[in-house]
Symmetry: C2
Subunit: 214 residues, 2 copies
DNA sequence: GCAATAATAAAACGAACGTTCAATTAATTC
DNA sequence: GAATTAATTGAACGTTCGTTTTATTATTGC
C-alpha cells in the first residue's frame, strides 16, 4: 500500500498535533515513541516525517505555538493600564480560562522544557519571559499607583503564576466547580495576595498592620 | 575485573541514589539510562541491579522516601492546633525550607509520577494526599475559629501548595534572597491569601504604599 | 590462611528506538 | 486520460534500551 484513500495532508498534520499533545501530556515526551504516536494517528511512523523533520522539532512546534497563543490571548484580553485591579483581574481570568481549555498543551509546555536542545529551549523561555513580564508590569504599576501592596514584584509575579497555573493539576471539567467559579475564586485569592485596595477584608478595623517578618 | 578495591555496598547504594536524583531531576526519568546512571556512579550498569531490582523500583524508592521525609519533617515542625496562624506559618516555612534544600528530589517527585506503574503511583499519591490533608485541616480549623477567611478550603489548600512549591522553579541559593527571606515573603503572601486576622494591610488607611520594585 | 560471601565486570539478550529510503498508490492538473 | 504531484507504506539502518547470566575478584569471619 501507499497513499490511502481520503488522505489529506492538512488533516493528517492536525491529527498528529492533537495526538502528540495528548500522548506527551500523559506519558511524557521521552516515553512516547514515534511509532506509538503514528499508531494513535492511524498511520505509519515514516509518515510523520513528512510533517515534522524530527521528533524534537515536533515538540518545539507544540510548545512555541502554545506560548504564542497564550500571549496573543492576553493581548486580546488586556484592558490596558488605566485600572490596575481590572488589569490584574483580566490577567488571572485569561490565564485560567486559557489553561483549563488547554490542559494537555500546558502540561507539555511546563514539563518538557528539558527535552529541548539549547537553541529551542532559549526560544521558548524567551516567550515565557515575555508573558511573565506582563504580570510584573501590572504589579509594579499597581503598586506605584497605590492599588496594590507588593513588596517584591518579581517574586510575587512568580507566586501568582504558579498558583494560577496549578489549576490544571487538580481541576477537571464537569465536576464540582465550573471554570467560571474557579476563575472567580482564584481572582479573589490573587487580589488578597496583592492586598488590593477595595478588596479589603473586614479584619482591618483593628489592624496590627504590615507584618513583614523580615 | 570483578569486585573492585575499596568497594562497599552501602557507599555504592548512597552514590546511586544521589546520582539518580540529580540525573533524573535534570534530564527526566525516561531520558536517563541505567548505563548513564552507572557511569555517573563510576560502575557498570549490571552493578545497579544488586541494589534495585528494576529501574522503576529505583524511581519509586526515591519518591516514596522523599514524601515520607516531608511528612516526618512536618510532624516534627507542627506546633499543634492551638494557634491556627502559627500553625499555617509553620507549615509554609517547613515546606519551603524542606523543598529548597531538596530541589532535585522535589522535582523528581513532582514530575515523574507518570512513570510509575499504577500500584506504585497509588502509594505515592496516598502519601501526597496525607500531606495535603494536613494543610486542609489547618485551613478548616482556622476558618472555623475566625482566624482565616477561606471560602473553599480544598481549593485554597491546592493554591497555597502550588504557590509555595513553585519556589523551587526560580529560587537559586546564593543569589538575591536567602531561604529565610523567601520563606518570610511567602509566609506574608499566604497570610494575606487566607485573610488572616492580624495580618491586615495598611492600605486602607491612606492607600499609597511601599513599592519596592524588585 | 582458608572458606564464605559481597561486590562488581564483561558479555550478551531480544526489543525498541529515531530516522531514512525506495516503492506505490491516490488525488490533482491539464 | 496521461502526466504530475501529494501522501503514505514497508522494510531496513545502526544504536541504545532494560535486564540477565556468568565469571572473577575483594573483603570478611573463623
Amino acid at each position: 500500500m501507499a497513499r490511502t484513500i481520503g488522505s489529506d495532508g492538512e488533516k493528517t498534520e492536525a491529527a498528529i498535533r492533537e495526538a502528540a499533545v495528548n500522548l506527551i501530556a500523559r506519558h511524557g515526551y521521552e516515553a512516547v515513541s514515534m511509532r506509538r504516536l503514528a499508531a494513535e494517528v492511524g498511520v505509519q511512523a515514516a509518515a510523520l516525517y513528512r510533517y515534522f523533520p524530527t521528533k524534537e522539532e515536533l515538540l518545539f512546534t507544540l510548545m512555541r505555538e502554545h506560548m504564542e497563543e497564550l500571549i496573543a490571548a492576553w493581548r486580546a484580553a488586556d484592558p490596558g493600564p488605566a485600572d490596575s485591579a481590572a488589569r490584574l483581574a483580566a490577567f488571572v481570568r485569561n490565564h485560567i480560562v486559557f489553561h483549563v481549555a488547554r490542559r494537555h498543551a500546558t502540561h507539555v509546555s511546563n514539563m518538557e522544557l528539558r527535552s529541548l536542545s539549547p537553541v529551542r529551549l532559549t526560544a521558548v523561555l524567551r516567550l515565557r519571559a515575555t508573558y511573565e513580564k506582563e504580570l510584573r508590569g501590572i504589579l509594579r504599576t499597581g503598586a506605584a499607583a497605590g492599588a496594590f501592596t507588593v513588596d517584591d514584584p518579581a517574586l510575587t509575579a512568580m507566586a501568582i503564576i504558579q498558583m494560577i497555573t496549578g489549576v490544571i493539576v487538580w481541576f477537571r471539567p464537569d465536576e464540582r466547580l465550573s471554570v467560571r467559579e474557579v476563575a472567580d475564586k482564584y481572582h479573589t485569592m490573587t487580589m488578597r495576595l496583592v492586598a488590593a485596595a477595595g478588596h479589603a477584608e473586614e479584619k482591618n478595623v483593628h489592624a496590627h498592620d504590615a507584618v513583614r517578618a523580615g
